[in-house]
Amino acid sequence: MASANDPFQFQEFEEAASLLEANRDATTITIDDEDNKPEKQRIAAGFTPDDDDEDRLASDDKAELLSGQKKSVPFWTFEYYQQFFDIETHHVKERIIGSVVPWPRKNFIHVYLRRNPDLYGPFWICTTLVFAIAISGNISTFLGKLGQPDYKYTPEFGKVTIAATAIFSYAWLVPLALWGFLLWRNNKAMNLVTYSFMEIICVYGYSLAIYIPAVFLWILPYEWLRWCSIMVALCLSGSVLVMTFWPAVRDDHPKVIIATMSAIVVLNALLAVGCKVYFFSKPEKLLPVEHAAPTTHSAATHST
């Protein structure tokens, strides 16, 4: 039995609740599971929580910490970026599959992101795509020029830089422009649905995932195969993008809707076709005809 008089006697402590009876309102620290953040907290923070985080810093930090909600940290701290890496392996898998299979009524952002956009997927998908394009382009050039005696294999490492610039600027600048445009239209015509900047980056990043297998298909030197795979990949990723952004612009002027949707699709197509044309040369199958053509041309110019 606990004896309060003897300090060396082992004392059994009662339940924590009874100990706190004296001071029920004491500040306690609760570790919340990140996925359980209440919806109204996010909606109350505004449609673009990332911008508001930067505006109201100090007072909101204290208030949110004490109430045990998700804290809004300033964007120059490490913790701010850690909240965008709060995903698990199966989340990433689901999101990649969701970006490849467009479902008529499923909106990528609502179904898969669920207010938890991540930066892991977009960044690593872009990096993988950069190296995939560089490596596949190198292999296809090598295979295409295999028979020629004067061809010396070069790794063409400079193309990695070009590929990186093109893909990263597509994946980060186009979402920035689209987000700015949607924000501007939101001021003019009240749309029911708005997306945050991180969510748009997430959608664009995951929509590039279909191009990774397509790029490896481009190694085979058949033009029809390359164009077919471009078409298929474009359809899939373009439709996912269109279906995602349809709710954000559908209440707007019809011309604006058409302009936005076509811009999204056209930019996507430009990226795909541009990469194919720059990194993957046309296979030169008809060598004798090509050698003959300049000579006939020069013969024609000689004769005239």
Binding site: Q82, F85, E88, Y120, W124, F131, N138, Y153, T154, G158
Partner: protein
Amino acid sequence: MAAADEASRPFAGLSDVSISEDIPVEGDISVPMGSSRRDDEFSTLDEPVKETILRDLRAVGNKFIHVLYPKRSSALLRDWDLWGPLLLCVTLALLLQGGAADSDDQGGPQFAEVFVIIWFGSIIITLNSKLLGGTISFFQSLCVLGYCIMPLTVAMAVCRIVLVGGSGPVSFGVRLVVVTASFGWSTFASTAFLADSQPPNRKALVVYPVFLFYFVIGWMVLTFSPSQ
């Protein structure tokens, strides 16, 4: 005496134990002054230079052996150093030089490109694993990733030796096998050290960038073509 006898009865079995008079029992129960003792223990200022260099070399060599036989030991993690990664990076970049004759922009990777890829890639992978909630520290992770480039450096040396013999399909096949084996070894060794510091539902998210990193380095090693 009677009291002493009374006290010693419980210890009767030990009564024959005695300390002979001619062995001096001495000691010092005063606490020595901390500053001078500490300086003596940790000061390496008086040791010969050879000793200093050899100590670091032995630490680096010890870690190389840990990479060769990767088991889940904490020695590599606890005493991190960046000498080994620097040595390996410079060796690999030098071995990748002397490639295709026109080395302007269509050739192999320049020295600076190899350096940037290895160090920038390691930093990004470390940031990635820390953002995903890893418990490993920044420099420990850089140390592990750098040391695990060793199999690929060895493969590069082997490839250059094989290329001296010729660059036909046979040599390409041999090089492919060597590079694939060393790439698998590098990835396996580094994940043996790194994967423990992550929660199990994110292990694949951390391992994939490491896989991509060593794949790119392996690609650079494999596509090295000598100037002729």
